[in-house]
Symmetry: C2
Protein backbone atom coordinates (compact mmCIF):
# COMPACT_ATOMS: atom_id res chain seq x y z
CA UNK A 1 0.00 0.00 0.00
CA UNK A 2 1.33 3.39 -0.99
CA UNK A 3 2.00 5.72 1.91
CA UNK A 4 0.91 9.15 0.65
CA UNK A 5 2.90 10.88 3.38
CA UNK A 6 6.18 9.52 2.08
CA UNK A 7 5.78 10.77 -1.49
CA UNK A 8 5.36 14.34 -2.67
CA UNK A 9 2.38 15.63 -4.62
CA UNK A 10 2.84 16.22 -8.33
CA UNK A 11 -0.33 18.27 -8.80
CA UNK A 12 1.64 21.36 -9.88
CA UNK A 13 5.30 21.23 -10.96
CA UNK A 14 7.81 20.87 -8.09
CA UNK A 15 10.30 23.33 -9.58
CA UNK A 16 13.79 24.04 -8.29
CA UNK A 17 15.38 23.53 -4.88
CA UNK A 18 15.17 26.65 -2.75
CA UNK A 19 18.69 27.74 -1.81
CA UNK A 20 18.00 30.52 0.70
CA UNK A 21 15.86 31.08 3.80
CA UNK A 22 14.89 27.40 4.19
CA UNK A 23 16.24 24.47 6.20
CA UNK A 24 16.12 21.03 4.57
CA UNK A 25 15.01 20.23 1.03
CA UNK A 26 12.30 22.52 -0.29
CA UNK A 27 11.27 23.27 -3.86
CA UNK A 28 9.55 26.23 -5.53
CA UNK A 29 7.76 26.58 -8.82
CA UNK A 30 5.97 29.84 -9.58
CA UNK A 31 2.69 28.93 -11.29
CA UNK A 32 1.19 32.41 -11.78
CA UNK A 33 3.11 35.67 -12.17
CA UNK A 34 0.95 37.69 -14.58
CA UNK A 35 0.33 41.31 -13.55
CA UNK A 36 -3.49 40.92 -13.96
CA UNK A 37 -6.16 40.15 -12.84
CA UNK A 38 -4.86 39.18 -9.37
CA UNK A 39 -2.95 41.31 -6.87
CA UNK A 40 -0.77 38.29 -6.10
CA UNK A 41 1.75 35.88 -7.55
CA UNK A 42 1.21 32.16 -6.85
CA UNK A 43 4.00 29.70 -6.07
CA UNK A 44 3.87 25.93 -5.50
CA UNK A 45 6.07 25.06 -2.51
CA UNK A 46 7.09 21.46 -1.76
CA UNK A 47 8.81 20.59 1.54
CA UNK A 48 10.55 17.25 2.12
CA UNK A 49 10.00 15.74 5.60
CA UNK A 50 11.74 17.98 8.17
CA UNK A 51 12.07 20.95 5.80
CA UNK A 52 10.75 24.37 6.81
CA UNK A 53 11.28 28.01 6.00
CA UNK A 54 12.93 30.52 8.32
CA UNK A 55 10.89 32.85 10.49
CA UNK A 56 9.58 35.62 8.23
CA UNK A 57 6.81 38.15 7.75
CA UNK A 58 4.91 39.49 4.75
CA UNK A 59 4.32 43.20 4.15
CA UNK A 60 0.79 42.48 2.85
CA UNK A 61 0.11 38.99 4.23
CA UNK A 62 -0.13 35.61 2.51
CA UNK A 63 -2.67 32.86 1.84
CA UNK A 64 -1.68 29.17 1.84
CA UNK A 65 -3.75 26.49 0.07
CA UNK A 66 -2.54 23.08 1.23
CA UNK A 67 -2.55 20.55 -1.65
CA UNK A 68 -0.65 17.62 -0.14
CA UNK A 69 0.94 16.02 2.90
CA UNK A 70 1.11 17.29 6.46
CA UNK A 71 2.82 20.31 7.91
CA UNK A 72 2.94 23.11 10.43
CA UNK A 73 2.38 26.86 10.45
CA UNK A 74 3.38 28.76 13.57
CA UNK A 75 2.95 32.42 14.46
CA UNK A 76 5.44 33.75 17.00
CA UNK A 77 4.18 33.32 20.55
CA UNK A 78 1.43 30.84 19.56
CA UNK A 79 1.27 27.03 19.35
CA UNK A 80 2.07 25.55 15.92
CA UNK A 81 -1.04 24.80 13.84
CA UNK A 82 -1.22 21.36 12.21
CA UNK A 83 -2.00 21.52 8.47
CA UNK A 84 -3.23 18.89 6.01
CA UNK A 85 -4.57 18.72 2.46
CA UNK A 86 -7.49 21.09 1.90
CA UNK A 87 -6.56 23.54 4.67
CA UNK A 88 -6.51 27.26 3.86
CA UNK A 89 -4.46 29.67 5.98
CA UNK A 90 -4.69 33.47 6.01
CA UNK A 91 -1.43 34.88 7.40
CA UNK A 92 -1.91 38.54 8.33
CA UNK A 93 0.50 41.28 7.29
CA UNK A 94 3.60 41.80 9.45
CA UNK A 95 3.06 38.69 11.60
CA UNK A 96 6.29 36.76 12.28
CA UNK A 97 5.78 33.07 11.44
CA UNK A 98 7.17 30.01 9.68
CA UNK A 99 5.73 27.00 7.83
CA UNK A 100 7.01 23.64 6.76
CA UNK A 101 6.63 19.87 6.73
CA UNK A 102 6.23 17.56 9.69
CA UNK A 103 9.21 15.39 10.54
CA UNK A 104 7.58 12.37 8.84
CA UNK A 105 5.65 13.79 5.89
CA UNK A 106 6.12 15.73 2.69
CA UNK A 107 4.07 18.94 2.64
CA UNK A 108 2.88 20.88 -0.39
CA UNK A 109 1.07 24.22 -0.53
CA UNK A 110 0.26 26.94 -2.98
CA UNK A 111 1.44 30.29 -1.57
CA UNK A 112 -0.41 33.45 -2.68
CA UNK A 113 1.84 36.33 -1.73
CA UNK A 114 0.67 39.80 -2.75
CA UNK A 115 3.64 41.75 -1.34
CA UNK A 116 7.24 41.53 -0.23
CA UNK A 117 8.70 39.25 2.45
CA UNK A 118 11.11 40.01 5.31
CA UNK A 119 13.28 36.94 5.98
CA UNK A 120 14.48 36.42 9.55
CA UNK A 121 16.35 33.74 11.57
CA UNK A 122 16.03 29.94 11.12
CA UNK A 123 13.61 27.82 13.16
CA UNK A 124 16.00 26.03 15.48
CA UNK A 125 16.16 22.22 15.56
CA UNK A 126 15.40 22.25 19.31
CA UNK A 127 12.13 24.15 18.70
CA UNK A 128 11.18 22.06 15.67
CA UNK A 129 11.80 18.60 17.10
CA UNK A 130 9.41 19.31 20.00
CA UNK A 131 6.47 19.48 17.58
CA UNK B 1 -7.39 -0.47 -10.72
CA UNK B 2 -8.91 2.86 -9.84
CA UNK B 3 -9.66 5.09 -12.82
CA UNK B 4 -8.85 8.61 -11.65
CA UNK B 5 -10.97 10.12 -14.42
CA UNK B 6 -14.12 8.50 -13.09
CA UNK B 7 -13.77 9.78 -9.54
CA UNK B 8 -13.69 13.36 -8.34
CA UNK B 9 -10.84 14.94 -6.43
CA UNK B 10 -11.33 15.48 -2.72
CA UNK B 11 -8.39 17.85 -2.26
CA UNK B 12 -10.66 20.72 -1.19
CA UNK B 13 -14.29 20.20 -0.11
CA UNK B 14 -16.75 19.58 -2.97
CA UNK B 15 -19.49 21.78 -1.48
CA UNK B 16 -23.03 22.12 -2.78
CA UNK B 17 -24.56 21.43 -6.19
CA UNK B 18 -24.67 24.56 -8.34
CA UNK B 19 -28.27 25.27 -9.29
CA UNK B 20 -27.89 28.10 -11.80
CA UNK B 21 -25.81 28.87 -14.91
CA UNK B 22 -24.46 25.32 -15.28
CA UNK B 23 -25.50 22.26 -17.30
CA UNK B 24 -25.04 18.86 -15.65
CA UNK B 25 -23.86 18.20 -12.11
CA UNK B 26 -21.38 20.75 -10.78
CA UNK B 27 -20.45 21.61 -7.21
CA UNK B 28 -19.04 24.74 -5.56
CA UNK B 29 -17.29 25.27 -2.25
CA UNK B 30 -15.86 28.71 -1.50
CA UNK B 31 -12.49 28.14 0.20
CA UNK B 32 -11.37 31.77 0.69
CA UNK B 33 -13.62 34.82 1.07
CA UNK B 34 -11.67 37.05 3.47
CA UNK B 35 -11.42 40.72 2.44
CA UNK B 36 -7.59 40.74 2.85
CA UNK B 37 -4.85 40.25 1.73
CA UNK B 38 -6.04 39.13 -1.74
CA UNK B 39 -8.16 41.05 -4.23
CA UNK B 40 -10.01 37.81 -5.00
CA UNK B 41 -12.27 35.15 -3.55
CA UNK B 42 -11.36 31.51 -4.25
CA UNK B 43 -13.87 28.77 -5.02
CA UNK B 44 -13.36 25.03 -5.58
CA UNK B 45 -15.46 23.94 -8.57
CA UNK B 46 -16.09 20.25 -9.31
CA UNK B 47 -17.72 19.19 -12.61
CA UNK B 48 -19.11 15.69 -13.19
CA UNK B 49 -18.41 14.25 -16.66
CA UNK B 50 -20.35 16.29 -19.24
CA UNK B 51 -20.99 19.22 -16.89
CA UNK B 52 -20.03 22.75 -17.91
CA UNK B 53 -20.93 26.31 -17.10
CA UNK B 54 -22.83 28.64 -19.43
CA UNK B 55 -21.05 31.15 -21.58
CA UNK B 56 -20.02 34.06 -19.35
CA UNK B 57 -17.53 36.86 -18.86
CA UNK B 58 -15.79 38.39 -15.86
CA UNK B 59 -15.57 42.15 -15.27
CA UNK B 60 -11.99 41.79 -13.97
CA UNK B 61 -10.95 38.39 -15.34
CA UNK B 62 -10.37 35.07 -13.61
CA UNK B 63 -7.55 32.59 -12.94
CA UNK B 64 -8.17 28.82 -12.93
CA UNK B 65 -5.83 26.36 -11.15
CA UNK B 66 -6.69 22.83 -12.30
CA UNK B 67 -6.41 20.34 -9.42
CA UNK B 68 -7.99 17.23 -10.93
CA UNK B 69 -9.42 15.47 -13.96
CA UNK B 70 -9.71 16.71 -17.54
CA UNK B 71 -11.72 19.54 -18.98
CA UNK B 72 -12.13 22.29 -21.51
CA UNK B 73 -11.95 26.08 -21.54
CA UNK B 74 -13.14 27.86 -24.67
CA UNK B 75 -13.10 31.54 -25.56
CA UNK B 76 -15.72 32.60 -28.11
CA UNK B 77 -14.41 32.29 -31.67
CA UNK B 78 -11.43 30.11 -30.67
CA UNK B 79 -10.88 26.34 -30.44
CA UNK B 80 -11.53 24.80 -27.00
CA UNK B 81 -8.35 24.38 -24.91
CA UNK B 82 -7.81 20.99 -23.27
CA UNK B 83 -7.04 21.23 -19.54
CA UNK B 84 -5.56 18.76 -17.09
CA UNK B 85 -4.23 18.71 -13.52
CA UNK B 86 -1.56 21.39 -12.96
CA UNK B 87 -2.73 23.72 -15.74
CA UNK B 88 -3.17 27.42 -14.94
CA UNK B 89 -5.45 29.59 -17.07
CA UNK B 90 -5.63 33.40 -17.11
CA UNK B 91 -9.00 34.46 -18.51
CA UNK B 92 -8.90 38.15 -19.43
CA UNK B 93 -11.58 40.63 -18.40
CA UNK B 94 -14.71 40.81 -20.57
CA UNK B 95 -13.87 37.77 -22.72
CA UNK B 96 -16.88 35.51 -23.39
CA UNK B 97 -15.98 31.91 -22.56
CA UNK B 98 -17.05 28.72 -20.78
CA UNK B 99 -15.29 25.88 -18.93
CA UNK B 100 -16.23 22.40 -17.85
CA UNK B 101 -15.47 18.70 -17.81
CA UNK B 102 -14.83 16.45 -20.78
CA UNK B 103 -17.57 13.97 -21.62
CA UNK B 104 -15.63 11.14 -19.92
CA UNK B 105 -13.86 12.77 -16.96
CA UNK B 106 -14.53 14.64 -13.76
CA UNK B 107 -12.83 18.05 -13.71
CA UNK B 108 -11.85 20.11 -10.67
CA UNK B 109 -10.38 23.60 -10.54
CA UNK B 110 -9.87 26.41 -8.10
CA UNK B 111 -11.39 29.61 -9.52
CA UNK B 112 -9.88 32.94 -8.41
CA UNK B 113 -12.41 35.58 -9.37
CA UNK B 114 -11.60 39.16 -8.35
CA UNK B 115 -14.76 40.77 -9.76
CA UNK B 116 -18.31 40.19 -10.89
CA UNK B 117 -19.52 37.75 -13.56
CA UNK B 118 -22.00 38.27 -16.42
CA UNK B 119 -23.83 34.99 -17.08
CA UNK B 120 -24.99 34.34 -20.66
CA UNK B 121 -26.57 31.48 -22.68
CA UNK B 122 -25.85 27.73 -22.23
CA UNK B 123 -23.22 25.88 -24.26
CA UNK B 124 -25.43 23.83 -26.59
CA UNK B 125 -25.18 20.04 -26.65
CA UNK B 126 -24.42 20.13 -30.40
CA UNK B 127 -21.38 22.37 -29.78
CA UNK B 128 -20.21 20.41 -26.75
CA UNK B 129 -20.47 16.89 -28.19
CA UNK B 130 -18.18 17.84 -31.08
CA UNK B 131 -15.25 18.31 -28.66
Amino acid sequence: MKNEHLSHSTLFPMGQKVEKNFIGDAYLQMVFTDPAPLNTAIGNVTFAPGARNNWHSHYTGQVLLVTGGEGWCQEEGKPAQSLKTGDVVNIPANVKHWHGATKESWFVHLALTPGQTDWLEPVLDEEYIKL
